[in-house]
């Protein structure tokens, strides 16, 4: 997948586990796990929610690589 993400780093900085992160952004632990593993690219709305919770921009967490 051409999308690179730093979600795990920001989640660890926040001090929450995957389940708590999922609850904060309105999704499941499994989805957070899949995003962190690079197995799933989140929708625009989910990416924006994640960025808002981490208090950074979307581009800080997700980078598109050719």
């Amino acid at each position: 997948m051409p999308l690179r993400n730093h979600l795990k780093e920001y989640r660890v900085k926040l001090g929450v586990n995957q389940q708590q992160m999922g609850a904060l952004v309105g999704t499941s632990r499994q989805t957070i796990s899949q995003i962190e593993r690079g197995d799933y690219s989140p929708s625009v709305s989910l990416a924006l929610k994640i960025a808002k919770v981490c208090e950074v921009s979307v581009e800080d967490i997700f980078q598109y690589e050719e």
């Binding site: 586990n17 708590q20 499941s28 632990r29 989140p42 929708s43 989910l46």
Partner: protein
């Protein structure tokens, strides 16, 4: 010639070669079936009785093995889940991944039970037509019927337990396995990534079903000619093929419906 035209030509050539291979394969298969002596079902009553007993005990054995396997896996996964915390992300992923195995085994067992039960009944009817004393098969009949009910019950229990474990691990999940709306409730409680995984899995199942229907049509057609199995198998296979294709295409059409029509 442009690259796209070369690619198209290559595809057409491969398609024609596959068609020719099918024609050649079909020719030799037909020749073989026409000339070969195809053995028919035995008419020896004692052999039939042995087959009937073997089917009954085999049916029972398969269910017991599958049931024990699934129960062991379930308790292993439950123990692992109870001993880990929400911070053990890798372990939780492993549990959810391995949780698919008892579901697959129980689903295979459910379908095999339907098949083996039907096969057993067919053998009983066939033996009865040959004038065999069916009373001698009382034990086999009892074992088969008991196994069929046992098979249905243990599959339901195992799948129910696995769903309950999944719901404990992921409290946002909804649905009870005995509810007829279970699939709808479950998928409605899934988020975007899980729905995406379900839809991709469903598409893989659709492709596999189509291939199986094509193969099933060939086999049932050949059996109709060689073993006089009648039209019903061919009709059933083509009906399933039609339902599969139509349901996919109609659903796809709904998603492409223009907004202002």
């Amino acid at each position: 010639m442009s690259d796209s035209k070369k690619k198209t030509l290559k595809i057409v050539i491969i398609f024609v070669l596959v068609l020719l291979a099918c024609f050649v394969g079909g020719y030799f298969t037909g020749k073989f079936l026409g000339e070969a002596h195809i053995p028919s079902m035995t008419k020896d009553v004692s052999t039939l009785m042995t087959i009937i007993k073997g089917t009954a005990f085999g049916f029972c054995g398969i269910n017991i093995v599958a049931c024990v396997l699934c129960i062991c896996m379930y308790y292993q996964l439950k123990k692992k889940w109870k001993s880990c915390t929400l911070d053990d992300e890798g372990v939780l992923d492993q549990i959810e991944y391995k949780g698919n195995i008892p579901m697959i085994i129980s689903s295979i067992a459910l379908v095999l039970n339907m098949l083996l039960f039907t096969v057993f009944i067919w053998f009983i009817e066939y033996a009865d037509k040959l004038g065999a004393d069916i009373i001698n098969c009382k034990l086999s009949v009892l074992i088969t019927f008991a196994t069929y009910i046992f098979g249905f019950v243990w599959v339901l229990i195992i799948q129910g337990r696995m769903v309950a474990l999944e719901k404990k691990m992921n409290p946002e999940k909804k649905g009870h396995i005995l509810d007829f709306k279970f699939e709808k409730d479950w998928i409605n409680s899934c988020d975007e990534a899980q729905k995406g995984a379900i839809y991709r899995s469903a598409y893989s199942a659709f492709k596999a079903t189509n291939f199986a229907c094509l193969a099933g049509w060939v086999v049932s057609f050949l059996c109709m000619l060689a073993f006089d199995t009648g039209l019903l198998p061919v009709i059933l296979v083509t009906a399933i093929y039609l339902i599969s294709i139509l349901s996919f295409q109609i659903a796809a059409m709904k998603f492409e419906r223009p907004v202002n029509n």
